[in-house]
Symmetry: C2
Subunit: 638 residues, 2 copies
């Protein structure tokens, strides 16, 4: 079975046992890997109603049949579980070095069920696996743990995916980190890992995947690397990283500012890609085998105004948007320090910035007092930001409440607080305000694991009309209206782009290299899939794969009782006109248009418009007819 | 605009005027050509309720952006209009030489509206067009007319698409023929042409399409030709043509016999590919630039028992199944003679054989007497067959009633006759009995232009599991059950294969070269499209194109008042167990399973399950939102 190792490792931490599954080729073609395969195992292995932080939750690590082919943008893996933040299914993607190494170590995926009675870590090397004591690692920051594991195993090239103290303490938005600076960030999967007493998974392998056509892989690798070296969009992206879009997003009024009450930030230049490159950056950082190098490596030896440990890397755009502008922090140093803390303790910076922005607004409105917080925490206070970040990861003081996420925190603070708590399905919003991007308004609402900016198209991508990737999925026209407009044409783009991106995530490749910045076209991606697997894999199968995974997610949620009513936006977006004078100043999301678009979305994707859940016919169409048998409680209609 | 001429010729025969439209590139990408572009113009140009034989009907001739690239299987064109047989929209495909020549003459498509006050033919050459008098041609057989036109224009290489006397006389299943032996056979489009007093369209051109990548086109042409030369499936197909499947279909009980009351024919060997090759064939015939050469050229000089004019070519499988087994004619000579008459007069052999088989059964049952027919016409009487064929084309005697099609003929003959009249939506069934092929049972019923064997997949194609073309559209598993079984898994294959084939027909390429016998894979087809147009055209766009065209067809029919109730099978298939002892002997189609499958089909394709018609959301998804505006009477729901 070309590309794949053909082996899935199943671990039961309660029993301390492992087993290996050998799926057939059609299984791999049907579920591919990454987000889709993760969702598959969750539906197959988990009963409805499982406690996300209990032993019945299943944590799945997945790569794909092309992971390990040394091409830019092909170094990712996905982690999936039921989220302790939302109660929904969750897929969370990371780049870095761990995914390819898992493949070299002999497995395409790992499922982890049960709960260890004591802290352990998992060691996988060349087809072997072993659970090892992690008692001595418990409570330590991620950097120390990585060092300790490598020392214990006597191999400095062991790749470690781990949780930090935040995950151990079940912070509901704790993340999983590999190489200290690549994050399966969202949805609290670090807490799931913590609840299982699993501190880390260390992998190392010398296996070489059996590729169908290594020459084409090499050609693709070279052509991608060649493009990146030329001046232009890729060079800019390498120089500035995702932080480049701080400026872009404030320009279109989409930069969340002051707890999503504004769409532009007057001090954006102090947290921009240029500011970081000038003041904080050592060099562009990278994932395995990637020529794009969009990551940020931090200068060593920064001591003032705060000491920053460079090992934890620099902030992404999302971090700048949430820990920066959303908290009105116009200070690249404070931002980088808060980011370092999040890496050290293992916290998702998006949710963290969402909750801290909310806390700051509560402080300014008098909903939370200085006594409750422990110190003044107005918007723009970098020191408060840094302290709150650390307290959250350690669940100390008010950090223990912040660690519950904005939805749960707001419940205890009364109706005014709840009205300004910006979340969907309990998950804090990413740094693209739906007030400025009509497509995000729909996408955030209908997303099965809550608001996610990497699940679809952004309105501004269509300014010059659809690019070749979009034309390739049948979007030939520029949608009508401004970025912020909501209309039926956009819903179609949302639905189709969501399937495209879903498939990209199910092949575990990087959206920046294969979609948004497009070093590689979709044609290149199909060629890569063929070169790895030997399959004449088509764009139609690719889109069906994306749709299949979206339906797996939704079927999981349906089983848990989620419906259309959960597909909504926070009240603030409908009710509070943006307070700034930017292009979206004074705007809200039109609720009536939103509801019309949401209904159109269900119709377009073939979900029951009364429940918002998959119909039996849609599941059968996607080869998922087994779901109604396997999950008889699912409210699935004919 | 690579590949396309960029010009659509519009002709108004009432006014005697022509105009040229220059659509933009996105129009071509959206509607491509062939069947899809034809359906587009019908919906755009024709009001609801038009008389199919009146001046308001529009007749559209379409090629595609790749027509004219000299590759096997790429010589086709489509004719579309409202059918006088069914009252539905109709697409009818033909191979031959005419389509490429139209492209060389400077146009991608022609629409013909209105009605000429006297017989005319249209002469198109190198971007010019001219209506010429055809009074002297009227009433003459096709061979004479082709000779006369070429003589008049002084060019023996002029390609002539024309009707015969049957079309002039408005035989409801009259066809359009080019080069005397390539037919836009089905649905009576020849009668539409006749009703417009348009006898022929002669084309000739020296233009060379501007291809994006001529080298790849040449490579594809060579690789295809190379494959065909090797021993194996292609060589067999060349030797036996589609007649090869006479044996295949009787083996699985799918050969319509004795007016669809049996599924095997004891004398099948007398009308098989082997019989024809032995007794009647000169050499394999061909379409333009095709190495496959699946057509049958007839020996010259056959004089006994009847004289046969070799110019009209030999029968296809469908002809053998309907004029042969369905009339119980085990006589390759009589079959070839009837086929020659159909070519000379311009009659669809499928409908013709369907009605004659019915007439023969009526004769045997005493519903039609020898007096009414003019001679005895029992099953198996070759002479009766030949006479009835000629009488139909000329509308003489009972031929005048046969010319109305089986549905109209049966109405005058009472309930027993109506019960054994085998048609759907007024159109006679092709030579694959739905009792033997579950997929055909569904496909025939839901087909917008009535029963059509070239609109989807056949059950026996999945005996060894889905091939790469089907895997490429997401069909990974062999459907459960025998060929004749009906189940939900098959419905999904029907729906998806129908879209695949619909797209093939919308690019005007041959299903034998690009799908069923697969000299070329779908990957090759996408490569050819790219080589011609320069577009990075994906399989997903391709499938959307197929779906778009199916929805255009359906929207047209919805506007005419067709609904789910019209999507049914003839009573005989549900009620009369097959009388033979073949594999399907004693079988009927299970009505309850059929209705379940039909409902599943609507759900899978996103049509309203209560009406069977497209929803507004489905139309908008396909970029067809304009239909509800353009056709406000359409019963389209949100």
């Amino acid at each position: 079975m070309k590309g794949n190792s053909g082996k899935i490792l199943h671990i039961d931490l309660t029993a301390g046992t492992t087993s290996v599954e050998f799926p057939d080729e059609m299984f791999y073609r049907t579920y591919a890997g990454g987000a889709c395969m993760g969702a598959y195992y969750l539906l197959r292995m988990m009963a409805a109603g499982a406690d996300p932080l209990g032993p019945d939750n299943v944590l799945v690590f997945t790569t794909s049949a092309i992971t390990g082919a040394a091409v830019s943008g092909n170094a990712r893996h996905c982690v999936s579980a039921k989220s302790p933040l939302t109660g929904t299914i969750m897929n969370s993607e990371a780049g870095g070095f761990w995914g390819p190494e898992l493949k070299f170590a002999g497995f395409d995926a790992i499922t982890v069920s049960g709960r260890s009675s004591k802290p352990v870590y998992l060691w996988i090397h060349d087809g072997e696996c072993e659970l090892r004591d992690a008692s001595m690692l418990w409570g330590k920051p991620t950097g120390e743990v990585q060092d300790a594991i490598r020392a214990e195993l006597g191999d400095s090239r062991v790749r470690v995916a781990q949780i930090g103290p935040a995950g151990e303490r079940l912070v509901r938005f704790a993340c999983i980190v590999n190489e200290l600076k690549h994050f399966n960030g969202r949805g609290g999967l670090g807490a799931v890992m913590g609840s299982k007493n699993l501190r880390a998974i260390a992998v190392r392998g010398s296996g070489k995947p059996d590729w169908a056509d290594p020459v084409t892989i090499l050609d693709l690798a070279r052509s991608g690397a060649g493009k990146v070296r030329r001046p232009g969009v890729w060079a800019d992206f390498r120089r500035l990283g995702t932080l480049q879009t701080v400026a872009d997003n404030t320009t279109i009024g989409s930069l969340p500012t002051r707890n999503f009450s504004m769409g532009t930030f007057s001090e954006y230049e102090n947290i921009s890609g240029e500011a970081f490159a000038r003041d904080m950056m050592d060099k562009p950082g990278t994932c395995w085998a990637c020529a794009q190098q969009c990551k940020r490596d931090v200068k060593k030896g920064i001591e003032s105004p705060r000491q920053i440990d460079a090992r934890y890397g620099g902030p992404e755009y999302e971090t700048a948007g949430l820990l920066g502008s959303n908290c009105m922090i116009g200070d690249v140093h404070a931002l980088t320090k808060a980011n370092e803390i999040a890496g050290k303790l293992g916290i998702d910076t998006i949710s963290l910035g969402g909750v801290i922005g909310f806390v700051m607004e509560c402080f300014e409105r008098g909903i939370l007092s200085e006594e409750q917080i422990g110190f003044p925490a107005p918007f723009g206070d970098g020191e408060a930001l840094v302290r709150l970040a650390e307290m959250t990861g350690l669940r100390s003081g008010i950090g223990d409440s912040i660690a519950e996420g904005v939805a749960r925190l707001a419940v205890g603070l009364g109706p005014e607080a709840q009205r300004i708590a910006v979340h969907i399905k309990g998950k804090e919003l990413p740094a693209h305000t739906p007030t400025a991007k009509g497509m995000m308004a729909i996408l955030y609402a209908v997303g099965s694991f809550g608001p996610d900016h990497m699940s679809g198209a952004h309105d501004e991508q269509f300014t010059s009309g659809p690019n070749e990737a979009y034309r390739g999925i049948g979007i030939y026209e520029k949608p009508p209206g401004a970025n912020w407009d909501l209309n039926l044409e956009k819903v179609n783009i949302v639905a189709r782009a969501q399937q495209l991106v879903s498939a990209i995530d199910s092949w575990s490749v990087c959206q920046f290299c294969f979609h948004v910045w497009t070093i590689y076209s979709m044609e290149n991606l199909l060629a890569l899939i063929k070169a790895c697997t030997g399959w004449s894999y088509t764009m139609h199968e690719f889109m069906l794969l994306g749709e299949r995974r979206l339906n797996l997610l939704r079927a999981f949620n349906a089983r848990e009782g989620f419906t259309k009513a959960d597909d909504d936006l926070p009240p603030r977006l409908f009710e509070d006109p943006l307070l700034d004078n930017g292009p979206t100043g004074g705007r809200t999301v039109d609720r009536e248009q939103f509801l019309q678009c949401r209904d159109e979305y269900y119709r377009l994707v073939g979900w029951d418009p009364t429940t918002g859940n998959p119909t039996g016919a849609k599941l059968r169409e996607l080869g998922l007819g087994w779901i109604s048998e396997a999950a008889p409680t699912a409210p699935v209609v004919l």
